[in-house]
Symmetry: C2
Amino acid sequence: MSGLHGMKRLTLEEIGKLAGVSRSTVSRVVNDQPYVSPPVRERVSRVIAETGYSPDPAARSLARQRTGIVGLVVALAIDSLFEDPFFPRLIQGVSRACTSHGSILSLILLYSREDEAQLHPTISQRQLFDGFIIAATRTGDPLIPQLLDNGVSFVVHGRHDDPRASYVDVDNVAGSYTAANHLLRLGRRRIATITGPMDSAAALDRERGFLSALRDRNHPIDEALIVVGDFSELSGYEAMQRLLPHEPDAVFVASDTMALGALRALREAGIRVPGDIAVVGFDDMPYAATAAPPLTTVRQPIRRAGTLAFEALCDIMDSGLQPPRRIVMPTELVIRESCGMRQAG
Amino acid sequence: MSGLHGMKRLTLEEIGKLAGVSRSTVSRVVNDQPYVSPPVRERVSRVIAETGYSPDPAARSLARQRTGIVGLVVALAIDSLFEDPFFPRLIQGVSRACTSHGSILSLILLYSREDEAQLHPTISQRQLFDGFIIAATRTGDPLIPQLLDNGVSFVVHGRHDDPRASYVDVDNVAGSYTAANHLLRLGRRRIATITGPMDSAAALDRERGFLSALRDRNHPIDEALIVVGDFSELSGYEAMQRLLPHEPDAVFVASDTMALGALRALREAGIRVPGDIAVVGFDDMPYAATAAPPLTTVRQPIRRAGTLAFEALCDIMDSGLQPPRRIVMPTELVIRESCGMRQAG
DNA sequence: ATGAAAGCGCTAACAT
DNA sequence: ATGTTAGCGCTTTCAT
């Protein structure tokens, strides 16, 4: 076939020779630039097609001073993060956008302080990467100020406090407000919540939305009905066990994965869902629909968030940083059986 | 702090000037090469540390003719692949190895024929990438012969027929043999299986191991008890429904995700597990342990496979292709309640 | 042990 | 509209 083993790499110069033009003209054709006469463009294009030439990315990066590579940084890549399809979906969204834009996606998972020590410098020097999407940051993550100081282009997934940071987020507050409100309207009185870890902005926002809904209806807030989890199945299971003595008749769980754990605890305790207790999750992961019982949950558009984050990053990369982009996407309450209401529609 | 915005990029030349040596000497220090006198090395190192210099990857790639970037290609990235934590784990394994080796990991998800058309050339020309790990290939995937023809370094995750291809795989045949054998020893007679898609080598191997176990015990094979799925939860659910009329008393399901679907079908049909039917899965995903009932399953070391694939790739990249590496890892039967045996130990 | 110089393959400013 | 030329920042031979 075409690709023989030791085949010498083609260069612009050689294509030029074959087409009887200079290296510059070939470059113009390759980069779709003007000032090439139609016949010449045609001839050069044919040679390129016949030879299968494609420009060397390293040389191009060096000359252009940009690589076309964007990094997706998972700032705290603990194993439990990969238990559920959240990150895979985010990655899918980013990857799709990258591919259609012709960019290369690089995945950077930081597991430990050592990883951070090793990779933060690489990241902040913005030599290899044109920009970053930062996911799974906790409050106080040193990476973001570092990026800002170094003038690196980036977009955070999940809101961030620094006014200079761009981010893409879902409206966690509104989503959980709606969920809690829904439980109230169904007549539940002792409404508990299992939150995410308190260094996660999403977890804080979800708790905030939940509490607002109760307050807005002048519903008493019982501190014993608020238990902190860490987004893992096990933490949902344990949190539910801690809630049981306080006899909640509803629980808003800040992630579907934790909700699964909660359902497991309830099943083991012989408590019926939704008869004895209503359960609402967050995310609408694939298994929410097939849980026993199917889980009412707050759907968030994860892949879309990834795509938008990439697009915002592109914006930022070629039009400068300011003003920061802040994109907040709506959520949707998906009603299934676990909340005790007949499915709508 | 150090990283001011418009700070001009440092070069070898400038570091040389600061240390009173030539660019070459600095290069030697940066690359830990010999022939630099201790005092000079010391002086240069200090300047590098003080300035925070780090070499430009693009320039380095151009001069070295290698980029330090490896691509992880998901050859058929259908959404259902990302429903379970299989790929995330594989990615984690590869990522860890990459990071500790100082390589950059790039993720390439091919969703469609158009993606393939767009990216196969990029991939096969081996300009941007030093090598690849290829996952989620089906039999007959054109990518692999293409890579072989072009002399690109790569390792496949999952066995591959071409004798020139290197791969890392788990012993799917032995794993399912053990699983089926276990069911036979427990006295089950009508043992069904739900397989993966027939263009997946893993699915074929798992079916093969299952059948061997039955044959070795002279157990009759009832074609009606073999149903094909596609590794998705839904396909497991539907497959189980198709099996029910044939009254199996055991089922070996080729993935935990499908097993979850099977359990759901059984729950809906009011059939008891393991009382009426024993269920064994494959993978040992996190939710296998928390399913109702907890799922007996064949554990495979997914992260480890990713790590080994990367290491094999490194081998290949710097010691040439031949002979191809073939790494096959053992599996382990994890006994829980769904098979009807009291948990060992 | 150190330095000078020739690339690596491309882009882009400049000249024609 | 096309060609010439000067980098981009590094590695690597070759002198010394």
